[in-house]
Symmetry: C4
Subunit: 231 residues, 4 copies
Amino acid sequence: MSYVELKREVYEANMELQHRNLVLYTWGNVSQIDRARGVVAIKPSGVAYEKLKPEDIVIVDLDNNIIEGSMRPSSDTKTHTWLYRHFDSIGGVTHTHSTYATAWAQTQQAIPCYGTTHADYAYGEIPCTAVMSDEQIERDYEEETGAQITDCFKDKNPQEVPMVIVAGHAPFTWGKNASDSVYHAVILEEIARMAYLTRTLRQDIGPLKQEIVDKHYLRKHGKNAYYGQSK
Amino acid sequence: MSYVELKREVYEANMELQHRNLVLYTWGNVSQIDRARGVVAIKPSGVAYEKLKPEDIVIVDLDNNIIEGSMRPSSDTKTHTWLYRHFDSIGGVTHTHSTYATAWAQTQQAIPCYGTTHADYAYGEIPCTAVMSDEQIERDYEEETGAQITDCFKDKNPQEVPMVIVAGHAPFTWGKNASDSVYHAVILEEIARMAYLTRTLRQDIGPLKQEIVDKHYLRKHGKNAYYGQSK
Amino acid sequence: MSYVELKREVYEANMELQHRNLVLYTWGNVSQIDRARGVVAIKPSGVAYEKLKPEDIVIVDLDNNIIEGSMRPSSDTKTHTWLYRHFDSIGGVTHTHSTYATAWAQTQQAIPCYGTTHADYAYGEIPCTAVMSDEQIERDYEEETGAQITDCFKDKNPQEVPMVIVAGHAPFTWGKNASDSVYHAVILEEIARMAYLTRTLRQDIGPLKQEIVDKHYLRKHGKNAYYGQSK
Amino acid sequence: MSYVELKREVYEANMELQHRNLVLYTWGNVSQIDRARGVVAIKPSGVAYEKLKPEDIVIVDLDNNIIEGSMRPSSDTKTHTWLYRHFDSIGGVTHTHSTYATAWAQTQQAIPCYGTTHADYAYGEIPCTAVMSDEQIERDYEEETGAQITDCFKDKNPQEVPMVIVAGHAPFTWGKNASDSVYHAVILEEIARMAYLTRTLRQDIGPLKQEIVDKHYLRKHGKNAYYGQSK
């Protein structure tokens, strides 16, 4: 039983990150889970996108043991597996240092929902984690990054807000598979850019009124959605 | 009697939006009206530009009934038809979420006329609609978006200001046909970018004096225009 | 006696403007003077760069009379000829609406000399003209634009500062020929961008100390220059 | 004994600068030292990247005497050789006027370490030199630029912070060879861009807490590093 197809999907999702100009050098990684087999395919650590090949993708289990692959998996692997263990509904995870989303993370502030572009994809603000405590850093930095993310979602549905920014670090996004998580990474960067421009243009602007957020989110999502071609 | 030519023009205007980097994924749509036949050709909802074909363009009447086409028309169709019903002089409409124009929309402010680049194309500020009331959202969101736009033009000529930003949402532009409305969408984005830079560089700068606005607008438009090759 | 060579140089300088991404649609024009013959070659008005051909370039005399060419010359022709009449040392003029230089023009402020990148090309601030008076607008708008520029250079040498921004409008640059004036337009846009970032990052920063400006300007210009390969 | 290989490496590193969009016209130069032979290969002064050839690279000794080459070396050569003489561990130096790093230099402020993207490559803030004194300018401008840089590193390790910004001027970066110094120039520009966005979005944000800086820097550098494939 092989992982060829899973690796190819993860390879292509990683390359799409580069194609969309979201990564500089090796700054990003994408994974996908096969829940039936309990394995995650993820980019190897520190490999340039220009040199990445489908067979380089590493297969790990949910306890971060390498199942297949000769390379070391992404140094952020424990964050990915944490998310898969805690968010049952997700199938893919993307981590980037995309410019505007990272700038918001560096300000240690959530991205307010300023408009319908945002509301079309995320139901309410994009949360920002707390800054990690010294104790957490000493325990297991990458796993605790995952814990900080899930802490933000105690009262949120990760399907309704498929993205987060980690304070002082950068964004993570997720979706039904690797490709969908990259799609959300691209959208987050554009939402973050628009929010940057909005805030710097008008400091005192508040979030868009909730009724319009509801309208836009629900015209694209849920049982009464009427956007797009498929029902 | 077929709509082949009309669909091709609308297809090409939609592709021009992408070529000019004004759209991310499916965030935009262009339409054109054939007033003699009372029909509007418009992009189908949620179809990626990479996959769009001329035959996918949907033909609707001014009451939003599908006349020809197997796909669902843009979810913003009712806004387009509202504009065609209320602005007699226009032949094409474009909707985008272009970055800078959307940021201004998210600040819920009109774009002041700071310079001659703006005055060459729009006679005075680019208006921003009011934020939609709860009653309007409940009635018919897309049609009410059209109503909010026309409310801004009670004392304005839509030929003199062929563009608007919808508060908390994004811009709409129009022109004599689909291609011309895209042209105005490109120009609006650049005007919005220059205005962003101007405002953030100098908070207290006011609009350009009216006499220069008049001079520039009128050297390009109206019976005494002397810009370009045609009279 | 033909103008083939002069027209080709002006054509190529105009195309370079587009190649450097300084123009959107028809927003820019470049000219060059042949002082021996007393003629100026300039882009025709409102012609798209994609369609421009060398033979479209118009030849005018210094009184703005068309000497050769079937098209109408740029609507800014009178500003160009004014500059040639008043600045003896220049051979080419470029006008653009490049984004950052235009934003500074819209703030109606000179661009301070914040660093050596600026000092390498312009000796001191890039001046900004006054806003045009009503009387000037009524006289001859394009010629008065020239007058406003030369008013800024009463105490400045146009060879030491080969660029200006016109308040509420956009930049003009010049040089020893058409190509050199385009070179200065490209540099002005980058200087304006750096100055924008500098000012918005630190409001209270003043200009670079004069001794460093002197050093940088003089290592590239004048009899003791030691930058580059030629003496 | 020839310098063919050394020149080719320096040529390629210079071309990489352009490929990464860090230079406009001739604004940048890269060098590499061969410590065994005591020579430095560097870009010739004022030569456009489009025309640069491997054989144009100039070989100088550490006292700035030309050893091989028919062209004049970069006007910044004395800054490069100063750095090689004072930083034993470095093998390549890059100088650019990249936009965001130059803007920070123009504000005459160090770039604070706002996040892990920065901490992955530089251990703490990117220092900014003092503004040069009149005496220094009169002595030897380029050599004193080197002195200003080394003054910033009295209490810093140039291997831990492989980059600096020179007040009112622009950045210098270094690395184990020419190519590595260009890599750091690319990263500095992105760090500077993120820091610009962070600061303008939230004026009162301070640097990231030291414990996270330590964690990120040390997971990539030093004997316990666990990022990437090599040990």
